[in-house]
Symmetry: none
Subunit: 273 residues, 2 copies
């Protein structure tokens, strides 16, 4: 897609939002890596994957940021595209890697049985990859009809994911504590809200007469949605993991008090003998 001429404010807004997103992604990655040691081993994988997802996104935002800077030249009071081609694919390359990882985080933090996890994961990962893959042909097309058709096609796997998160996983949720159910409800709403941004940003060029506003809304909307869907989502995953770690520790703590722990007993006499 050709880039439009932008005013200072328009160019700066995208520039600053991209830099802001780089900072958010890498700061979140650092946080998840630092904080994962406090998470019980059973849920640690979820937090590690959360760190990966924002780390990968941070890398892609660095590339998008420099791509943006390289694509424009200051000419008097406006920013003019300088003929350098802006690479829309970075976002899609990012999503095809990170969106399946977001699904892995969610399933991993729930601590389901192996067979439940595997079936859920397979379907969610395929749907997430399809969703991203189907959006791309529309994104790079300058034909609004093509954009619209692929937008609709990409929405179908999204609806399937929403269906799985809402209906199919309710069984797995019944076994969780009240506070975790609340967090899970939040993560589901966040997914819907953040992922709802993407189609809006995607469809913005169809409804706007000015291609400048369309481009700005697209870049800002995608970035904000990515921050919510990756950093915000990761923080909820981390909270769930921490709550579950605490719950597991509390459940295993009262044991030493009772008389049913004979193990250290017989060892000690052996030492004294």
């Amino acid at each position: 897609m050709d880039l439009p001429i932008l005013s200072f404010t328009q160019y700066d807004l995208v520039f600053n939002v991209l830099s802001f997103t780089v900072a958010c992604m890498f700061a979140s990655a650092a946080f998840f890596i630092a904080a994962r040691n406090s998470i019980g081993e059973r849920y640690r994988l979820a937090v590690t994957i959360a760190a990966l997802a924002v780390g990968i996104a941070g890398y892609h935002y660095v590339m998008i940021f420099y791509n943006w800077v390289a694509s424009y030249e200051l000419s008097g009071m406006v920013y003019v595209p300088n003929g350098h081609r802006f690479n829309d694919a970075y976002r899609y390359v990012d999503w095809i890697l990170t969106v399946p990882l977001l699904m892995v985080e969610l399933v991993a933090v729930l601590g389901l049985s192996k067979s439940e996890s595997r079936s859920l994961l397979t379907r969610l990962i395929i749907a997430a990859a399809l969703m991203t893959g189907l959006g791309y042909p529309g994104e790079i097309s300058s034909d609004n009809m093509v954009r619209f058709i692929f937008g609709v096609l990409g929405t179908l796997p999204f609806l399937y994911i929403v269906y799985v998160l809402w209906f199919e996983m309710s069984g797995a949720l019944e076994r969780q504590s009240e506070r975790i159910r609340v967090l899970y409800r939040n993560i589901r709403l966040l997914t819907l809200a953040a992922w709802g941004f993407y189609p809006m940003a995607y469809m913005a060029p169809l409804f706007l007469t000015s291609s400048a506003s369309g481009e700005v809304i697209l870049q800002v909307g995608y970035s904000m949605a990515d921050i919510l869907a990756k950093c915000g989502y990761g923080i909820i995953i981390f909270s769930i993991a921490r709550l579950k770690t605490e719950a597991d520790r509390t459940a295993s703590r009262p044991r030493p008090k009772g008389p049913q722990v004979p193990t250290p007993g017989p060892v000690r006499p052996g030492v004294a003998r």
Copy 2:
């Protein structure tokens, strides 16, 4: 805002202060990450967040530094702006991320109950974000009246934060030990002193006839304030976390001495047998 022509001394002062700030921020980040392992799990989050805040600030100072270098050209005996636009927004993008994190550090290190923490955090984070957000329109305006009005508006949430730190949190403080109360008093004074720098630097362009001095005072003042408010503040947070860790360990240590811990008891007779 348009950049002014600067003398060698003026340009170099900003250049060196920016580089100094980069060094301070990343060194502090490295210190907090390395030292957090010695902190008890309950207060470790505060030190992790301290590391994040200075890490994010370090990133933004690298960007500001290179932005400064790219915006000037040496011409004879003076530095002349070369038409590259200097991006004032980096500081604000930084603050909107890091100032709320400073509030999180403070609340996290006090180890309050979940409900106390949540209420304090929500209000402090909103006030911190408002304070930063309201300053920005004034910062980028070349109209001194606009600068003044938004400066005053941004001061209101700042006063609210001061109020919360001074009056509302005194209840939480009464439960802390004497040494921690002293540190908390220091952090409160540091917040007032360091945060007091920002409005002074912000308002400097209103009172100076030379725009060159105004720009230099602005850049140097903001950088110094950031070092105090992030690195200095983080070091006090770290000290509080260490004191509280020690206090917790001392509190849990005497237990084996007392007769109220029967668990190791039955084991010992076995040893003697």
